[in-house]
């Protein structure tokens, strides 16, 4: 009995060790592969478009009056809104205005006299003590003096307006771009003194090739990002460059992240085109480039399935990043893909997955 138990124990242990050994042998026969997961990607294709910062309309500061230019800000000066940028001398204008005031008073006195005389002689008309022409003359005088007064008043208003605009202020934060008059110069009316470049009113113009826009110029659905920040599309150009076949897109240049951009500067933004209805169904994912294999003109990858068995999945490359491909396929984000050891794999083959860090 004891002998039988002993023998049985030996047999059982031998069987176990055989099974274990076989399983180890079997395991050691399995091919090892390195795996990495597929990553999520925006359901859109991303392309780079090239933009320039356009200058907004420049602010022109011109002389309203004929007056000497007393001072002007030099080129390059940064001025705040409301800051004095140029000043003209008002002496002649103010004396002119005084003369006008005197003329206006004279005209007022004359008018008053004429109205008084008319009022005095009107009752005498009934007594036929005064001629109609004489009365008409008095009426004419009164009208003339009235109009003269009006004209003088208007003249005075104009001069007053000019006088008030002898000092020129920046309407917004700007930079003096160009100075066309010099201090001491007697300016004429309408003569340009300087040009101001508004600082916070940049316009971004971006060029998109026709091929990327599509037949229906359906570009409004696209998203635009600069340094990750969204950009809102302001306008789409209605003309296309004859040579380059580029379409212009216009964006607002407001915002802190545009502060550093200078007019004339070239930069790039990302345009994300959502994937619309497509021939092939699938997800857009980001795969490690080592996971994508090319064979017979088609791309595929090996995905790890249940029980560590691999399956071959065809993919279509949409875009290329540094070490990744953006593909459309059945691959889901998080699926484990074979990046090393994918030579001679067969569909359904069991493998031993190894992480990158192991």
């Amino acid at each position: 009995m004891k002998k039988t138990i002993k023998v049985a124990a030996v047999m059982v242990s031998l069987s176990f060790s055989t099974v274990l050994y076989q399983s180890q042998c079997y395991a050691s026969d399995l091919q090892k592969v390195r795996i990495q997961p597929a990553q999520e990607w925006l359901q859109a294709t991303r392309s780079i478009i090239y933009c320039t910062v356009n200058s907004p309309p420049l602010t022109q500061i011109s002389s309203h009056a004929e007056a000497e230019l007393k001072s002007v800000k030099p080129v390059g000066s940064i001025v705040k809104a409301g800051e004095l940028v140029a000043e003209q001398d008002g002496f002649y204008l103010s004396r002119g205005m005084d003369i006008l005031k005197t003329d206006l008073e004279i005209a007022e006195r004359q008018l008053s006299h004429a109205e008084e005389e008319l009022a005095r002689l009107m009752p005498l008309r009934e007594a036929q003590m005064v001629s109609p022409s004489q009365l008409n003359d008095l009426k004419l005088n009164a009208s003339t003096f009235r109009l003269s007064k009006q004209r003088l008043k208007q003249q005075l208003e104009i001069d007053q307006y000019r006088f008030e605009r002898l000092k020129h202020f920046a309407s917004r934060d700007s930079q003096v771009l160009q100075v066309e008059a010099h201090p001491g110069e007697r300016l004429t009316q309408g003569q340009r003194i300087l040009q101001l470049l508004p600082l916070n009113e940049k316009q971004l113009e971006c060029l998109v090739p026709r091929d990327q826009v599509g037949m229906n110029l359906a570009i409004q659905k696209n998203e635009f990002r600069y340094d990750g920040e969204p950009l809102s599309l302001k306008n789409i150009g209605r003309t296309m460059d004859g040579d380059t076949q580029n379409l212009s897109l216009y964006f607002d240049g407001h915002g802190k992240h545009f502060e550093s951009l200078l007019v004339g500067q070239r930069f790039q933004i990302a345009m994300l085109t959502p994937t619309g209805p497509r021939e092939k169904a699938g997800n857009i994912t980001k795969l490690p480039s080592d996971a994508v294999l090319l064979e017979g003109g088609k791309y595929h990858t090996w995905a790890l399935g249940l029980e560590n068995k691999v399956r071959k999945v065809e993919v279509e490359i949409l875009d290329t990043l540094a070490d990744h491909f953006i593909v459309i396929s059945e691959i889901q984000p998080g699926d484990q893909l074979v990046v090393l050891g994918n030579g001679n794999l067969q569909a359904g083959q069991e493998v031993v997955p190894v992480d990158r860090d192991s």
Binding site: K32, V33, R34, I48, Y50, P209, D243, T244, Q245, R266, Q268, L294, E295, G297, I317, D319, T320, L321, A322, D323, L340, G341, N342, G343, N344, V354
Partner: protein, 1032 residues
């Protein structure tokens, strides 16, 4: 004979002089592992860094092959093309005048049309002057992180000049770590666009940076040469103005930087963890390998302590074959000495006379000295083959002396005086000795005529053995009689047979056994009828498998790590090379004493790890350690570990055959190759079956398809656009300019883009259009292209490399593979394709054809010689019939040897049978000669046989046993290198043993036939008898 008596002191003096000369030249003669093999091959190495295999094929290889195809004596052109490199091997017919072929190839190279100016002319390697094997290989590494340029510069300045001066070194060749440099004027595309510069604008300012001369100008009484400076020193080139923008001058340094970089990426080569620069030495034709390697070691020591030490660098030998060569030669030397000692013992046992022994034994050093003198004068070397030939000849060297001395002593025993005995005794055997020597030597003539590369191995063997035999004859007929006059003067006149009673009894008994067939007809007929067929049957049944060459092992282990696809060199270094180096460094503890050195050579498709060992090491233990701890976990690799072979550099690829597949376009050939590879791997799991050429397009490339419509709108031509692309990637070649120290190629190129996206987003300035991003002008697509292409006979082919499993002979393996391949192709859709073997299998086939021819020729020559010597066709045939018996002995010995060590029927062993043929007929000749003489004296046939056997048994046994015991150390030597000649020695030893045991009995039976019972065998004597005096 009077001359010998008269001038014996002169003869002895001359003999001594020749012996001294032999010793002197023995020290001077070159030592190598194997004889130089002249292959009728010339190879061309073409390098064009940065270009794909397809581009090189189209631009360089196809026109080159076209030009070479008109060469005379051309057998085959084979080219292997990979990215950046092509290797063209031109094989000529064996009767081609290789010097003329070399000149023809050189002249053809200059006529290849449209050879690009920036591609250097191909480098030539002439294998027809024994230049196939490399001498040694080295690593140059830095202990303080020197750059690749610094290592290259140190190599140029210090290492290469020093090594080139060593006698025996033909050239110093760099491999895997190319030293070519280039100057890149590297611009940032953004910098150009910011300055609104076009690439053409900048490039045009960089062309033609050379000084020029403009004649002379006379001022006063002096003439002044006019020199126009154009060359700009490298340090100042960034100051070169290239454009103006208003008052501002834009200089080159504002938009670009000048960088000196290596023209090609280095593979990862490392010695004991140190990343290294690698080079090897090619030997001259007449090199003394051991001396040269000793000089190299001294030079290395000087360099490491001197200039290199100051730079923090060291040179180390990666592969030092001198140890193997020394060990191998010492093994043969010791076998030689031991063989001589054993032969001496046997001689004494037979002769029992010290003076006689000394006389006979003197023939050994005398003949060896003469053989070495002959080797030196013949421009040969001391190598394993020639030394083995000398060792095999130990027994043969004493043969002639034994026969002469025996005869002299016999006559002295009969009462003749010393001088008379010497004179008469020498004269009596001169004819027989000469005939037997000629018969032994003449079989080597066909061997000397062998032209195949493998057959050239035996020239030294034939040379030494035939020299030894001739020296032995000369010694026996000239020097021995002269010495005997003095040495035997005072010795008693005793027949040596009187001193060896026990031996005599044995010989008598053996004689009695040998002549049994004479009196018994049935037994005789059985012996005769069955003897030959049984011998032939035994020969056939016991023959081991046929192989090309023996596979002597070396104290070295190689592990090949093959990747599933080509990888970038930096990835290989990081993921494989450095990993295995670190693991060895950490885990070598228990093997430290056995490891001499270790290193790794990594390429884009594979890594080769090697470890040289010493002392008592176990291959299996090392293999287990490597498989478990060093290379385990390397995903995506196929690992193969084997012990190093001694002949791998002397005879590269001696166990590798190529199977070429041809007859269709590359994609079809690749598909067929892949399917066939899988099929053969499953059929022969123990063999190493690898891709010989790429079986899939593993070369990944990005194809740029220009938008032609856009280009035309931009006013840009396609070549102009491609120049832009080249500028943005590899660079536009500007020209070769002098940098102050070297002339280097200058390239104008953009900063390397980080990735494809960045490249496509690069804006380029197009005149009149402004800045246009690249992606608007071109699309990019990843495609596959072949990273290597094989062309055989100017036809694209694919190939598989086949190495049989350890212990399986090449012939068996290739036959099995051939059958399997044919069956596979017939069943598959590749029935239209055809295959052919190259390499080792082909060499074996050629050798076997050649061997069969020389065997038949040797047999025919022997037959004719026997006929003229014996003047009887019947007797000649009788002698020849003794040969198969010895062959049976040779084959049985090989079979017996196989019980202890693996010994196939390789080409060296096969030659043993040819040599054996020439040796065994000697015994039969002696017997038949004596029989003939007895018959001519009127003796009865049977009595003549008995007389011949009894008279000749002693010398036959003496010569045979000395030969056997002289060869025995070669058979029993346990050293690794003994595998080269062990089979050869076994065949000769076994064959001679069988000859000694059975030839006497067989010949007795043969000679007892009635056809040999003629009253006189000699036809001249027969005619005299039949014609009474006075005529008929």
């Amino acid at each position: 004979m009077n001359i010998i008596e008269k001038y014996s002191p002169v003869i002895i003096s001359c003999g001594l002089l020749l012996i001294c000369l032999g010793v002197f030249y023995g020290v001077k003669i070159p030592n190598t592992l194997l004889p130089n093999i002249d292959r009728p091959q010339i190879a061309l190495a073409t390098s064009w860094p940065g270009k794909t295999a397809m581009e090189i094929e189209q631009a360089l290889v196809a026109p080159l092959e076209q030009e070479l195809s008109s060469l005379g004596f051309l057998e085959e052109i084979q080219t292997t093309i990979s990215n950046g490199f092509a290797w063209t091997l031109i094989t000529f017919h064996s009767n081609a005048d290789m010097e003329q072929m070399y000149i023809d190839v050189l002249s053809r190279l200059n006529q290849v049309p449209n050879w690009p100016s920036q591609v250097s002319a191909p480098r030539l390697y002439n294998f027809s002057n024994g230049a196939g094997a490399t001498l040694a290989s080295f690593f140059l590494y830095s202990t303080n992180q020197a750059t690749e340029q610094e290592l290259s510069q140190a190599f140029r300045d210090h290492v290469q000049p020093a090594f080139s001066k060593i006698p025996g070194v033909a050239s110093v060749t760099v491999a895997g770590t190319p030293i070519e440099q280039r100057i890149d004027i590297e611009f940032d595309p953004r910098g150009l666009t910011q300055a609104s510069l076009t690439i053409n604008e900048v490039q045009s300012r960089l062309s033609d940076l050379v000084d020029r001369s403009g004649g002379n100008l006379t001022i006063g009484s002096r003439e002044y040469a006019l020199h126009f400076k154009g060359q700009i020193p490298i340090a100042d080139i960034e100051k070169l103005p290239i454009a103006t923008r208003g008052p501002h001058i834009i200089r080159l340094g504002d938009v670009a930087k000048v960088k000196n970089r290596m023209a090609s990426d280095w593979n990862y080569f490392a010695l004991e963890g140190n990343r290294s620069f690698y080079f090897y030495l090619m030997p001259t034709e007449d090199i003394n390998v051991l001396n040269t390697i000793d000089m190299i070691k001294t030079l290395i020591s000087d360099l490491n302590e001197g200039e290199l030490g100051r730079l923090g660098m060291e040179v180390a030998i990666s592969r030092d074959d001198s140890k193997s060569i020394r060990n191998s030669l010492q093994l043969v030397y010791s076998s030689l000495i031991l063989g001589a000692f054993l032969a001496c013992i046997i001689l004494y046992w037979f002769l029992r006379d010290f003076r006689t022994l000394v006389l006979i034994f003197t023939s050994i050093p005398a003949c060896i000295a003469l053989v070495i003198l002959g080797l030196y004068l013949g421009g040969r070397s001391i190598n394993v083959i020639s030394l083995a030939g000398i060792a095999l000849s130990i027994g043969l060297m004493v043969d002639a002396a034994i026969i002469v001395i025996e005869n002299i002593q016999r006559l002295r025993g009969q009462g003749a005086s010393l001088l008379t005995s010497i004179r008469q005794g020498t004269k009596e055997v001169t004819g027989a000795l000469t005939a037997s020597t000629i018969s032994s030597v003449i079989v080597f003539l066909p061997i000397l005529a062998m032209q195949s590369a493998t057959g050239q191995l035996f020239t030294d063997l034939a040379y030494t053995i035939s020299s030894a035999l001739i020296a032995s004859l000369l010694f026996a007929l000239l020097l021995l009689p002269a010495l005997a006059r003095h040495l035997l003067k005072d010795s008693p006149q005793v027949n040596p047979k009187g001193r060896t009673q026990s031996l005599n009894r044995i010989l008598q008994r053996w004689t009695a056994i040998s002549v049994i067939p004479i009196g018994r007809v049935t037994f005789r007929n059985c012996v005769l009828v069955l003897g030959l067929p049984v011998a032939l049957l035994v020969t056939y049944l016991s023959s081991p498998s046929v192989d090309v060459l023996p596979d002597p092992k070396q104290a070295m282990i190689s592990t090949f790590i093959n990747f599933e696809g080509p990888m970038a060199v930096e990835v290989v270094e990081r993921e494989v090379g450095q990993v295995i180096m670190d693991r060895i460094e950490q885990g070598k503890g228990r093997f430290e004493e056995q490891i001499v050195t270790y290193g790794t050579l990594c390429y884009p498709t594979m890594c080769h790890l090697y470890i040289y060992t010493q002392g008592d090491w176990d291959f299996e233990a090392f293999k287990k350690w490597i498989d478990k701890d060093i290379v385990s976990g390397l995903i995506g690799t196929r690992i193969h570990t084997q012990q190093g072979g001694l002949l791998r550099f002397a005879m590269p690829n001696s166990r590798v055959s190529q199977l070429d597949i041809k007859g269709a376009e590359l994609p079809v050939l690749q598909a067929a190759g892949r399917d066939l590879l899988e099929h053969l791997r499953s059929e022969f799991p123990g063999a190493q079956i690898l891709e010989g050429s790429a079986l899939s397009n593993r070369g990944l490339r990005i194809e740029f398809e220009p938008n032609q419509d856009q280009l035309i709108r931009m006013g840009m031509t396609l070549p102009e656009f491609n120049r832009h692309l080249m500028a943005l990637t590899d660079g536009i070649y500007i020209g070769n300019f002098y940098t102050g120290t070297n002339t280097l190629p200058f390239y104008f190129k953009a900063k390397e883009p980080a990735n494809l996206e960045q490249l496509l987003n690069t804006e380029i300035m197009i005149a009149g259009q402004g800045l246009i991003p690249l992606r608007q002008l071109t699309s990019a697509q990843i495609t596959q292209a072949p990273d290597s292409i094989l062309r055989v006979g100017q036809e694209v082919s694919t190939s598989l490399n086949l190495t049989p499993p350890t212990g399986v002979a090449m012939k068996d393996f290739t036959e099995q593979v051939d059958r399997s391949v044919l069956a596979f192709l017939n069943k598959s859709q590749y029935g239209d394709l055809h295959t052919q073997f190259r390499g080792s299998a082909n060499e074996l086939k050629l050798f076997l054809q050649e061997f069969f021819q020389i065997f038949c020729v040797a047999l025919l020559i022997l037959a004719l010689l026997m006929y003229f010597a014996l003047r009887s066709l019947k007797l000649a045939l009788a002698v020849l019939f003794a040969i198969p018996l010895s062959f049976a002995g040779g084959m049985l010995s090989l079979r017996l040897l196989n019980l202890f060590v693996m010994q196939n029927l390789d080409v060296i062993t096969m030659i043993g049978f040819v040599i054996l043929m020439g040796l065994v007929v000697n015994n039969a000749i002696l017997l038949v000669n004596q029989f003939q003489s007895s018959i001519n004296k009127g003796m009865h046939q049977f009595d003549a046989i008995k007389s011949a056997v009894s008279l000749r048994i002693r010398p036959i046994m003496l010569t045979t046993t000395t030969c056997i015991f002289g060869n025995l150390p070669l058979v029993l030597s346990p050293g690794d290198s003994a595998a080269i000649y062990r089979g050869l020695a076994t065949v000769i030893t076994g064959g001679m043993l069988f000859s000694a045991l059975f030839v006497l009995g067989f010949m007795s039976a043969m000679l007892s036939l009635k056809v040999f019972a003629a009253h006189r065998i000699n036809p001249t004597s027969v005619v005299r008898e039949l014609t009474p005096e006075g005529g008929i």
